[in-house]
């Protein structure tokens, strides 16, 4: 199963992911860093998620295969 993960040690809070896939990503109000609301996005959101992953300027996001 595919899953979206964020490495918040890299995140710089550009917010491109929030604009690109607002159903999957948000920003923490206190520090502005990314939060993945839906690590396993709905089928219709994957295209936007892939664009968000590719456009992240700090390389924070990636899509991983999990066993679960």
């Amino acid at each position: 199963m595919k899953k979206v993960v964020a490495d918040t040690t890299k995140c710089l809070g550009n917010g491109l992911c929030v604009m690109t896939a607002p159903r999957v990503f948000t920003q923490n109000e206190d520090d502005g860093l990314v939060q993945v609301i839906r690590p396993v996005p709905e089928a219709g959101d994957w295209e936007a998620v892939e664009r968000a992953v590719n456009s992240c300027p700090s390389g924070t996001l990636c899509i991983v295969e999990t066993d679960a």
């Binding site: 710089l12 917010g15 929030v18 607002p22 920003q27 520090d31 502005g32 700090s58 390389g59």
Partner: protein
């Protein structure tokens, strides 16, 4: 590549950093503080994180009513003044100036001071004494305003007061680092947005059919797409991301040696025919099959165009699939 690889560094202090002029280094440190856009982690991360929550998508969206009020007031002012007038100074520049000053909590009376100097900072007239003095002037004024706000940082709950309460007082940022960040914000808040509003309006004035489509469109989605496309098309910030290689780094068959300067060209990336047009990507060797002088243009029609466009290409170079195009 240049923004995400740890082997390319922006600090101007490092040997080999590309400078436009020796008389006015773009990233000179002031009081020992280098501007945020010329720092590396961990300093860059710390400086940037001090401001991230002020510019989250949700926070910026929440500014929309304030920005709309600014826009309406400026239009009222132009209608009152009557035609003709300069849209660049009266509107394109006034919108971002008003917004950044309101966010920072600086009185609009100061806009002339900041506007004039922000313009000089991005000027390529590198040797003028006035241009050299612009950055120090902005920094000095920021120090004064910050010192004034530090007396009572609960008065207005603006960005500068939050920076004082949440970053300077707990010791995350030094006073001078805060001034440097504010200086970067006020400069960045002037020129880039003003440029794209002016150029965007010029594009609409020159292309009435695009203008009409946008006016007739009820969904804001189309306007958002138009703005994105204008940003790509005009690419107003071409000289902002210089780097120096910290170690040898390979990129698409080219080795950039340690100490060599890197000057990424935003305009070239934004107009890359391999990305932004389908036809040249899938038919890379496409060319005219006849001399240009023999191309038949339409005459005696209401529309301008071609009767025929004979082309040719190397038959083995075309791509049959649509993969990789957009």
């Amino acid at each position: 590549m240049a923004s995400s690889t740890p082997s390319a560094s922006p600090p101007a202090a490092k040997e080999g950093y590309p400078q436009l002029s020796t008389s006015r280094p773009v990233a000179a440190s002031t009081e020992g503080v280098i501007p945020i856009n010329y720092t590396d982690p961990p300093d860059h991360t710390r400086l940037r994180r001090a401001l991230i929550k002020e510019f989250t998508v949700a926070r910026v969206q929440s500014l929309q009513p304030m920005i709309a009020a600014v826009v309406d007031a400026l239009i009222d002012g132009m209608l009152e003044a009557g035609p003709p007038l300069d849209l660049q100074s009266r509107f394109a520049l006034a919108v971002p100036t008003s917004v950044i000053l309101a966010m920072l909590g600086i009185a609009y009376d100061e806009h002339g001071f900041f506007h004039e100097r922000a313009g000089l900072v991005v000027s390529t007239n590198l040797d003028s004494a006035l241009a050299r003095q612009a950055q120090p002037d902005i920094r000095a004024r920021m120090r004064e305003i910050l010192r004034e706000k530090e007396k009572n940082p609960e008065a207005h709950d603006d960005l500068m007061e939050r920076l004082i309460r949440e970053q300077i007082r707990p010791g995350n940022l030094s006073h001078e680092e805060a001034c440097s960040l504010l200086q970067s914000l006020v400069i960045a808040g002037h020129e880039t947005t003003a440029s794209i509003i002016g150029l965007g309006m010029l594009l609409l004035l020159r292309n009435p059919e695009i203008d009409r489509r946008l006016r007739d469109e009820t969904s804001t989605k189309t306007a958002e797409q138009a703005v994105e496309e204008m940003l790509r098309y005009w690419s107003t910030t071409n000289f902002v991301a210089f780097r120096v290689a910290l170690e040898d780094v390979g990129f698409r068959g080219v080795t950039i040696r340690a100490g060599e300067g890197i000057l990424p060209q935003v305009v070239a990336a934004n107009h890359d025919p391999a990305v932004f047009t389908r036809l040249p990507k899938r038919m890379p060797t496409l060319r005219l099959a006849i001399p240009f002088g023999e191309v038949e243009f339409k005459r005696g029609y209401l529309t301008h165009g071609l009767h025929a466009l004979p082309v040719t290409w190397q038959a083995d170079c075309g791509s049959t699939g649509a993969e990789g195009t957009r």
